[in-house]
Symmetry: C2
Subunit: 573 residues, 2 copies
């Protein structure tokens, strides 16, 4: 059979110059370089290069979950029936894409699968002997974001690894939670990306215990704080900060009203104007006795609701909560109720109520100073308890053989897979394009020959030698647009982040150039590898030609030694 | 880190006995054995075993497409905007799942991606130099079937490989079409399933040239006919049959009315009562000049429409088309128009108009007899021409450098991946469960030891020896429900179609039993393999203990030779 069709390994628009590479944002580069192509707001088509990187990430995650926590991989449908979401009271969520079938049945496109996995596991969990279990999947998720942004960082269709644990007891559940956190650290290490683990608020999903994994980068939407004494890292939402000096804010004070869950008491949170109320801390101060649905409701409206439920303003019950930064000498706003009894007033003083700021004191150790960094959230682990097993009735027969009397203790664990590609592009973008770690670069090696020369017998032999290196199976990029010259091919290889670029041309023959693009290989200092590197410097007449910060390190080596040298370099990737 | 969580490689409900295995339908077995679990009508959750089989099929398809036709793999979004479907006039399709986002924009969930891929490729196809190209993906598709049935055979969410070709000329496009057909035959061969290629009608998708790939099986919904002289195979829709004796049907005649596309002429198709009108043949008889929208409209309604557009019944224009099985002596129904001029009557005689029947004559060669078989469609290839590139304006600059003056010639190519699993289960189900070919069985080898003995040093060593066989990487099933005895483990291994079952127990030690489940291995007759088989019979003291149709072939071999014997057996899989 004739192979008529052409290879287009690079889905790239025309005219991708060095200046364009330099000037483009990381998210634009992912499109211009042919990793993805936006089809609609927040929706992307995955192109061959992106798909290759995606598969590498997936494989690392899969291996981590399988080997680390005995994860069982499944693939749940994207169509989830309304009923189970009503049971858990999550159907009324504006970010769910919803649809009806021809018979009128209602579905959503899953953005997360607690409901579906809990329903599924009811078929397989019967006895305490079936537990504990870990089930996960890697696949598309949907969220109807009003303002999708940041390319792959926040899409409406995105790829997520979501895992779910099932245990008989809380202590087993917490042990699984801890295990997954260890596995996550290992996964991010293998992905060769610097991720920090932060204590987190469990937010919408619920549950008591939660960790987030963040990539530190200025482009991030999130902020994490690290204490320089106890080293604890926490998200902005979770972080509790003590001001350097309490009660020293003498300027204007802002107030946010809230109501207790029974609407019997008006809560007034006072904090320095210009700072942001932290709802997590506010809830904590009141032992969560706050009607959280009123979180974003304007103060006036809350007063109106409160007064509406009050028989006589005289008997208003009021709780004042004072942020630790203010004191009675601060400049308070007028109090909106005019008739009230002092007896019905209570006050909490010295409570941390606002988002932390750089250099404030860590409330965990009470000693160190906090330092904030912008970051991108790429993973999240939750202990869920019975939040989902309760309403959906996932139970089991316990050790005393009492039938179905105990609810399963759950946990859930996410990694934003497509977001990871967006985030990695952000942190590894440079003037030449994307300088990807070898764990996710679409290929490990590019084989660049001048157009037309690719068919030459000598070059084919050299290429075949490389292809026989087992680590390079399906990892050598050989196909380039036919109208691209040797220089263009090298530029292309560098731009899409291939760590090793082999350049074969008549000029240097019988020597071959190798350009090392990988930032990690260049920085690698492990004794073993440095040793091998030194040996082959001698043995193979390996010479560094040029090395500077802007350009990959250029080397020259005899063609006869190419495979040996590449094999050793691969060990360092 | 402690590995707390348990493995449940088998997501199986309790109580799966030999009788249940024997009595269950193939589609039920896929659920009971833990390949998939139905979550709603036509929607399935993929479980670990099903996912393993699915990945194996995907890998074979991927390799076929990459190596055979230089396919470029992409992954398109499932959310497709209404606009492009309106442009190609396919939005009004009741089988599309449709939804709106929060801003009111409308989407469908893609059931096929001609519109999306054509839009995408507008970014990358500019010149004739960019062509020809082959792009494909493997992923979920959606079709809101009113009556989903047959388990994985006809779902509402299913997995499909859909490929699309782009060429500069019709002849290039047809060459790609032929190439893909060859690749498809190779893929089905590698999947070790008997598929026939049939000429097909291109139906809804349109275009001129189309082939279908069918698995012959009594449970199938389709029928294909093969001629015993020219060997041509065609689908029921495509097949043209000549009656053994023309005009011999003297019984009742049925009639179906139609209108020409301009509604100027009433067409009356006459054919033997009890036979089914074949629309493909009907269209062909009229050079497609038929208003196809009226296909399923009742005769009375068609007459009403026709009369409504007619000034005077006297001038009615009528075309009578006679199936070749009837003659003027047949028993015709009354003609519904009473006033008409004979001059405006025309008649076509001897046209094949109905679906073929067994033993009728093949119209292709005019000699052989046709034989029908029930079948399951698993693949389909189309030449599309400019059906999509036209309305969506996918064009290119030709060799004469005239800008964007030529439309791209397209083709599209589907394989029903999840349906394949359903179909393979149908054809390979036996009394023990699913007897899968090794190409798609979830594991190649099971390692069955009595519960509790798995930790024994000797057994672990034996297991590790097996695991070192490179073909067995990640291919040995070792984890069984802990409460299953040795017998239950063997039953389980056979039921999920693992071709080689290694049984290690104190009774036979230091010998080990191997049960060969694979139907193909047992039937294999290639001289090479028979030779090796004979050699190891001698060399390794390999002895057949028992062999019969109902049970796998049982052998016994010394534990010391286990790895060698398994290695040789694997060559035959």
């Amino acid at each position: 059979m004739q192979r008529l069709s052409k290879a287009i390994p690079i889905f790239q628009p025309k005219g991708l110059t060095k200046n364009v590479l330099k000037a483009s944002s990381a998210q634009d580069l992912l499109q211009k370089l042919g990793f993805v192509k936006k089809s609609q707001s927040g929706v992307f088509q995955w192109l061959p290069l992106g798909l290759r990187s995606l598969r590498k990430i997936n494989q690392i995650i899969r291996q981590g979950m399988n080997e680390g926590v005995n994860g069982q991989e499944v693939a749940l449908s994207v169509l989830s029936p309304k009923e189970i979401w009503e049971t858990t009271k999550r159907w009324n969520n504006n970010e769910l894409f919803k649809l009806k079938d021809a018979k009128g049945a209602e579905f959503c496109l899953t953005g997360t699968c607690e409901e579906d996995i809990t329903s599924l596991m009811k078929n397989y969990v019967n006895s305490y002997k079936d537990l504990p279990l870990m089930v996960y999947q890697i696949g598309r998720k949907y969220r109807d974001e009003i303002r999708p942004r940041g390319g792959l960082l926040r899409g409406r269709e995105f790829i997520m690894k979501d895992g779910y644990s099932f245990a008989a007891t809380k202590s087993d559940a917490l042990e699984l939670f801890r295990d997954v956190n260890v596995v996550y650290e290992r996964i991010f290490q293998q992905l060769q990306i610097p991720v920090v683990k932060a204590l987190a608020d469990s937010g919408e999903i619920g549950g008591d215990l939660s960790q987030e994994f963040h990539l530190l980068h200025n482009s991030g939407e999130d902020t994490v704080f690290k204490c320089d004494a106890c080293d604890e890292v926490s998200t902005m939402e979770k972080c509790e900060a003590i001001p350097v000096q309490e009660g020293k804010h003498l300027g204007k004070v802002a107030v946010k009203y809230a109501l207790t869950t029974d609407h019997s008491t008006l809560i007034c949170f006072y904090f320095p104007e210009g700072r942001e109320l932290n709802w997590n801390l506010a809830l904590k101060s009141m032992d969560s006795d706050i009607d959280i649905h009123l979180k974003d409701v304007h103060n006036d409206k809350i007063l109106e609701i409160y007064k509406g439920e009050l028989d006589d303003e005289m008997f208003a019950c009021i709780m004042r909560v004072m942020d630790s930064r203010i004191s009675s000498r601060s400049d308070f706003p007028d109090f909106p109720l005019t008739k009230y009894l002092k007896n019905n007033f209570s006050q909490l003083d010295g409570v941390p109520l606002v988002n932390a700021e750089d250099n404030e004191i860590c409330a965990s150790c009470g000693e160190g100073h906090l330092h904030g960094s912008k970051s991108i959230e790429v993973g999240h682990t939750f202990y869920l308890g019975t939040k989902y097993s309760g309403p959906l009735n996932l139970n089991f027969t316990d050790k005393d053989n009492i039938k179905n009397n105990t609810l399963v203790q759950m946990g859930c664990y996410g990694i934003g897979v497509s977001r990871l590609i967006g985030a990695i592009a952000e942190i590894y973008k440079d003037d030449l394009g994307l300088n990807l770690p070898s764990s996710i670069s679409p290929y490990l090696v590019s084989f660049c020959v001048p157009p037309g020369d690719a068919e030459s017998g000598t070059y084919v032999q050299l290429m075949n030698d490389l292809a026989n290196i087992s680590k390079l199976k399906n990892e050598i990029m050989t196909q380039f647009p036919s109208n691209t010259g040797l220089g263009g091919r090298i530029t292309l290889s560098h731009s899409i982040g291939i760590p090793l670029c082999v350049i074969v041309g008549p000029k240097s023959w019988p020597n071959v150039e190798i350009e090392i693009r990988s930032p990690l290989l260049l920085k690698r200092k492990e004794p073993n590898w440095v040793g091998e590197y030194a040996i082959f410097h001698d043995q193979y007449n390996w010479n560094v030609i040029e090395e500077n910060e802007k350009h990959p390190e250029k080397h020259i080596v005899s063609a006869a030694h190419l495979s040996d040298v590449i094999s050793i370099l691969l060990k360092g990737l």
